[in-house]
């Protein structure tokens, strides 16, 4: 059987699975719709959080990026895992004890202010929407390439599936489909990695294989360094001096951003107890770490394989996958010196080969000559990653509208039944809007997705942390901090991102910090502003101080409630 038949079978099977789970987990109340009834076990919540968190970018693009960046790619690995330590230690248990439905809920009550809730609500929708459009695009691309349907049809199929289980089941449906999606995606990611590791270094554990020896007896990483340096690239395992500061700031922005992303935080409202929230953050990181420690191994294998396969080899003798990706225009070859050999070197004047970074994970099984079903599995995994993240984000958008805007702001007197209906309508509208935006993405969306982390870091993270750890923090401080933090960060990003029309050039970067890393500075500014302003204005009311004291003590956590 060919790759396409296998893809139809495997992808079709996983979709049936998700739909089956959704029918089984239909939501009957707002509580089930918003927080899955608050009865999810820590293990299931850990898997759901992992699937929620690992997007199409983690699955399809990250290993490719690391493969081309070498050491500097570590910023994604540490940045997107280290945030969970902050979540587990500083946020999850306290927010669970607080026991509400959404992040704006916490901000609104802790800072006893409708304005604070509104600011948080706008930040949450802005961050989540830019993020979800990228996921929809990922779904379209994966379908288009492997089922050979048009990009738009791919997105419509994706919308259909998410629409079905998100509208029907809300958080409950999403949680249990995410558990299934985690299993699909982790299996699909590790199987090819294990095969390749056995082929290249004879070790079935890619994490160890990365430090193993290749057939001529040298260490894989030494060989990769040698190959890279010979072709004029920098050493794979070390950083240039000017890289260091950006690796530092980007890692930090991604970590604090992770801990401030509403669709991740809200997952910790779904477990029964404070103790479970702590444990479930541990499980989530464990499940994420399986992929995040395999990815750098895949990156190193793929890079070595690629350099050995193409460098100075005759163009006419390239394997089949090479021409396939050439047709898709993701690999381009231009024989500048007309010698019939491929010169793949760092110097752009003599380099003859351009490779799209995104194809590394998808092309890897083919490069390593793995069977057709493995390739089909990788596609199903990519779709699982994109769909699970999209669903989690859409739920945040929908609850922000139906709960925070509608129920808490505009129409406090609406009945639960009506609120549930409003939630279903908002998620349906959000799914369709995200799909339409994905069909026709504004040019800047792909850029903004990565920057969503900076925005989350500079707005939510300090407001939540201070709300828990600083009893004296008041609404004046928190609101000023959030607004100044997010304005500073978005202004810097706009100014230095040519794609957004900003006038700045890289030589004007403050202290050499790239826009991707500026969220770290934005977060520090938010912290300082909040602290200074709060000390100059009246302390929060006694009732709020009592709330803070209460969330610090685990005992007495009821299930998440709306009142």
């Amino acid at each position: 059987m060919g790759v396409q038949t296998w893809t139809f079978i495997i992808v079709g099977f996983t979709f049936l699975l998700y739909i089956g789970v959704a029918i089984w987990a239909k939501a009957g109340s707002t509580k089930e719709f918003y927080v899955a009834g608050g009865g999810v076990s820590p293990l299931a919540n850990g898997m759901a959080t992992a699937a929620d968190w690992m997007s199409a970018a983690s699955y399809l693009s990250m290993a490719g990026l690391i493969s081309f960046m070498g050491y500097s790619g570590s910023q994604y690995l540490m940045g997107w895992t280290g945030g969970y330590v902050l979540l587990a230690l500083l946020l999850a248990p306290y927010l669970r004890k607080f026991g509400k439905f959404t992040v704006p809920d916490f901000i609104g009550e802790r800072y006893y202010s409708k304005q604070a809730r509104l600011v948080a609500l706008i930040c949450a929708i802005f961050v989540s929407f830019t993020y979800v459009v990228g996921q929809m695009k990922g779904v379209g691309v994966a379908f288009a390439r492997f089922l050979e349907v048009p990009f738009s049809v791919g997105i419509i199929i994706g919308i259909g599936i998410v629409f079905f289980y998100a509208v029907l089941g809300g958080m409950k449906g999403i949680t249990y489909t995410q558990v299934a999606q985690y299993c699909v995606l982790i299996f699909a990611f590790t199987v090819p990695a294990i095969f390749i590791s056995i082929q290249m270094v004879g070790s079935p554990i890619p994490q160890l294989g990365m430090g193993g020896t290749v057939s001529d007896g040298t260490y894989l990483l030494d060989k990769l360094n040698m190959l890279s340096v010979d072709l004029g690239f920098s050493e794979y395992t070390s950083a240039g001096m000017d890289d260091r500061i950006n690796v530092f700031f980007i890692t930090a922005a991604l970590m604090f951003g992770t801990a401030g992303l509403p669709h991740v935080i809200v997952r910790f409202f779904t477990v029964p107890k404070v103790r479970d929230a702590r444990k479930s953050a541990g499980y989530a990181l464990l499940f994420i770490a399986i992929l995040y420690t395999t990815a750098p191994a895949v990156a190193a294998f793929a890079r070595t394989n690629l350099l050995q396969t193409v460098s100075n080899q005759p163009y006419a003798e390239m394997p089949l996958w090479f021409s396939k990706w050439e047709t898709a225009e993701l690999i381009t070859f231009e024989d500048k010196n007309q010698d019939g050999l491929i010169q793949y070197v760092a110097n752009p004047a003599t380099n003859e080969l351009t490779i799209d970074r995104d194809i590394m994970v998808l092309a890897n099984p083919e490069i390593a000559n793995l069977p057709a079903w493995v390739i089909a599995l990788v596609v199903a995994g990519g779709l699982a990653a994109a769909l699970s993240t999209a669903a989690g984000l859409l739920l945040v958008i929908a609850t922000s509208i139906s709960h925070d805007l509608f129920k808490k702001y505009l129409r406090p007197d609406i009945s639960e039944k009506k609120e549930l209906f409003a939630a279903r309508v908002s998620i349906a509208v959000a799914v369709i809007a995200a799909g339409l935006a994905g069909l026709n993405p504004p040019g800047f969306v792909a850029q903004v997705v990565a920057l969503a982390f900076g925005l989350a870091a500079s707005s939510f993270f300090p407001a939540i942390i201070l709300g828990i750890f600083d009893k004296r923090m008041n609404k004046e401080g928190a609101i000023a901090g959030m607004i100044i933090g997010i304005l500073f960060t978005s202004a810097y990003i706009w100014y230095f991102k040519a794609q957004l029309g900003g006038p700045g050039t890289p030589d004007q970067y403050w202290f050499g910090i790239k826009p991707e890393g500026i969220g770290t500075i934005g977060m520090l500014i938010n912290l300082v502003v909040s602290l200074v302003i709060s000390r100059m204005t009246p302390p929060p009311p006694k009732t709020v101080q009592a709330i803070v004291e209460d969330i610090r003590i685990p005992r007495g956590a009821g299930s998440a409630s709306s009142h």
Partner: protein, 85 residues
Amino acid sequence: MEKKTAKEYWRRNLKLLGVLLCIWFIVSYGCGILFADSLNTIKFGGFPLGFWFAQQGAIYVFVVLIFVYVWKMNKLDKEFDVDEK
């Protein structure tokens, strides 16, 4: 619960957080970034050590840190009788 014991519970909690977050900072920003170059001169099997911390070691430590936190906090909750029944 007594105000004084609540204060003591919170103080112990903060102390634990301080220790764990120090380790968190040292393995990632320290070993993985700031001192990566000097650590790269040391070989850890087939890995330069700084590179290993940045792409593998830091992540393993993160996972361990959370489970140590869970274990320590559960103990602390029991000790101060604030655990959930």
